[in-house]
């Protein structure tokens, strides 16, 4: 296929600002969708029209029957699907960059001597508007996935039969038309369907996770604002105390010899 590198480059820069779930989704997108599309699917569908044969000598009949059977080729449908499903992520990226620039400008206003280098690796905290954008983008991605799956199901179902019956001008009568490689294409249709469902699932999980974290964060912020040194120490010690308590209760199972102690 043509060059996916532009999209790949953009999506790579999102990686740094994503959660773990977002990175998993991106990896699934790159490897199981874009890579498969560019390698296997392209060549499997390569001769789809040249090998679409109808049992007729009528000129033009083959063309119209192919057009009727495949309003849009699967390959192009998947390309559109990938692009649409990546778009919300790109909008999120745009917002992140906008926020980074704004923060830089604010920082510059505060201290003119600061050395400003746009560091791509500097993370923008996920709070406030950024968080909303992220949640909205995940939601949109899920909706678009579902929409494309429904469209695909409506047009083709999820399998391809070897024979299509077609009656359309200028075909003089009902003709049988034969696809090329219907079984192989069915295998890849099912594969892409499974990958789309996996992506959808990842989106849903991430949405729930981000919302959960948001709620937890609000609960915590009500309890304590940014801790001082002492509070920080206490926090850590409490964590450790909890851990050692848990572990010592496990240890309790080891030593049923309360009398044996120095």
């Amino acid at each position: 296929m043509a060059d996916w590198s532009a999209l790949v480059k953009l999506l790579n820069s999102v990686q740094a600002h994503s959660t773990a779930g977002g990175k998993a989704w991106l990896s699934v997108l790159f490897i199981f969708r874009i890579l498969i599309l560019g390698t296997a699917v392209e060549s499997a569908w390569g001769d789809e029209q040249s090998f679409f044969k109808c049992n007729t000598q009528q000129p033009g009949c083959q063309n119209v029957c192919y057009d009727k059977s495949f309003p849009i080729s699967h390959v192009r449908l998947w390309v559109l699907q990938i692009i649409f499903v990546s778009t919300p992520t790109l909008l999120f990226l745009a917002h992140v960059f906008y926020t980074m620039r704004k923060e830089e400008k604010d920082g510059q206003a505060d201290d003119g001597n600061k050395n400003h280098q746009v560091s791509e690796t500097r993370k923008v905290k996920m709070k406030g508007a950024i968080r909303y954008t992220y949640i909205v983008s995940i939601f949109c991605k899920s909706v678009l996935e579902v929409v494309f799956l429904v469209i695909q199901w409506y047009i083709y179902g999820f399998s391809l039969s070897a024979v299509y019956i077609c009656e359309r001008l200028p075909c003089p009568h009902q003709v049988d038309c034969f696809l090329s490689r219907p079984t192989e294409k069915t295998i890849f249709i099912i594969f892409m369907l499974v990958v789309a469902l996996v992506s959808l699932l990842l989106n849903i999980i991430e949405l729930l996770y981000v919302v959960y974290k948001w709620i937890m964060g609000r609960v915590k912020s009500i309890q304590n604002q940014s801790p001082t040194d002492q509070q920080f120490l206490v926090l850590i010690e409490n964590q450790k105390d909890e851990q050692s308590r848990c572990k010592s209760s496990r240890q309790g199972r080891v030593a049923h010899v309360p009398s044996l102690s120095i």
């Binding site: 990896s27 199981f32 044969k53 024979v163 192989e184 044996l260």
Partner: protein, 356 residues
């Protein structure tokens, strides 16, 4: 063929965290599979359908016969095989990324603690705890990760999965096509009016490449199996060496028989019996932190302690540990400093650990 660079980039990242065997496997994957697929195999199979000719004029007959003979083309099949076989490695990579993330968090905590320390507070205990946690995850100063605990199991699991996928794909291929292609296929399917002979293009060349890819799969499989055993043996060796070391250091007071199990230790050897959990730590040195281990050892430890108690009651004799009090006290001090039970004797990196 298409662009394998996305997969290539990800697999490159794993290279840094693989053993030597893993790196060889990755190289085999890149050169003998992906490269060959993209160059030679693609062009050999390029005209597979256009040059598939059947001895019939019936429209559509060629299509269905081709479809029947080749439910999935070899090329696509190998693409799927490569992708599925690379998947477990990517899972291993994600575990590593997760560990790096943890390391970042721990580093931040450590920084903050050192900050506080420079202001004069005594945070040694907490700093040591962070050190120990880092050791538990196998995180080293130079940013590498030692293969212990969770990451070791992930690596083993990924090797096992890779081998399983290889075998599964080989079986599928054998079931569909065997490992040769004949020049003639007979086919009878609607709309072919009768049995027809169909002829492939380049069957011999394709057979050569099928056998080539088969051999490469078998080599990859062999590499996986070899690495599996290598990693396990190395880990066992390290464990034995470490527990022997701990054994020796604990047995300085009284010489202990070499072949003691962890339970015999309590009956015959020196001090830590009164501090059972700590002696437990020293003795079981480098075992992983899984709670299963603790339960099992807890169980057996209980039996030992129970039988010891019974002996005591029978003999009305004090258990011979008072003479070891000094050592016990030192060990107690150690115990206070370190959280149990994940503590090692120290968190320094041992040079003979399984390195990656």
């Amino acid at each position: 063929m298409g662009d394998w660079s996305a997969l290539g980039k990800l697999l490159d990242k794993v290279q840094a965290y693989s053993t030597a065997g893993g790196k060889v496997w990755l190289s085999v994957l890149f050169i003998f599979r992906i490269l060959v697929l993209g160059t030679a195999v693609e062009s050999a199979w390029g005209d597979e359908q256009s040059a598939f000719k059947c001895n019939t004029l019936q429209p559509g007959c060629e299509n269905v016969c081709y479809d029947k003979s080749f439910p999935i083309s070899h090329v696509r099949f190998w693409v799927l095989q490569i992708i599925f076989v690379s998947m477990p490695t990517l899972l291993y990579l994600s575990h590593i990324v997760f560990l790096m993330h943890k390391e970042e968090k721990l580093n931040k905590k450590e920084e903050k603690l050192r900050d506080i320390q420079s202001k004069g507070e005594d945070v040694d205990v907490l700093l040591r705890k962070i050190e120990i946690k880092k050791f538990k995850y196998g995180l080293e100063d130079r940013g590498k990760i030692k293969m212990r605990g969770g990451i070791f199991y992930t690596y083993i699991m990924s090797i096992v999965l890779k081998s399983i996928f290889e075998v599964v794909f080989l079986l599928i291929q054998w079931h569909l096509y065997g490992f040769t292609l004949s020049a003639v296929y007979t086919c009878q399917k609607f709309p072919c009016p009768h049995k027809v002979d169909c002829f492939l293009s380049r069957p011999t060349e394709k057979t050569v490449f099928i056998i080539f890819m088969l051999v490469v799969s078998l080599v990859s499989l062999a590499l996986n199996v070899f690495e599996f055993f290598y990693v396990i043996l190395k880990r066992m060796k390290d464990q034995i060496r470490e527990s022997a070391k701990n054994f020796e250091s604990a047995c300085n007071i009284k010489p202990c028989p070499r072949n003691l199990s962890s339970y015999g230790y309590y009956n015959d050897c020196s001090a830590p019996a009164p501090v059972p959990n700590l002696g437990y730590n020293l003795d079981t040195g480098d075992k992983s932190n899984s709670s299963d281990n603790y339960d099992k050892q807890a169980n057996e430890q209980n039996w030992t302690n129970y039988s010891t108690e019974q002996n005591q009651l029978g003999q009305t004799q004090r258990f011979p540990y008072p003479e070891k009090v000094t050592l016990g006290k030192d060990l107690l001090l150690l115990k206070e400093l370190e959280p149990r039970p994940s503590s090692r004797a120290s968190s320094r990196a041992r040079p003979d650990d399984l390195d990656i």
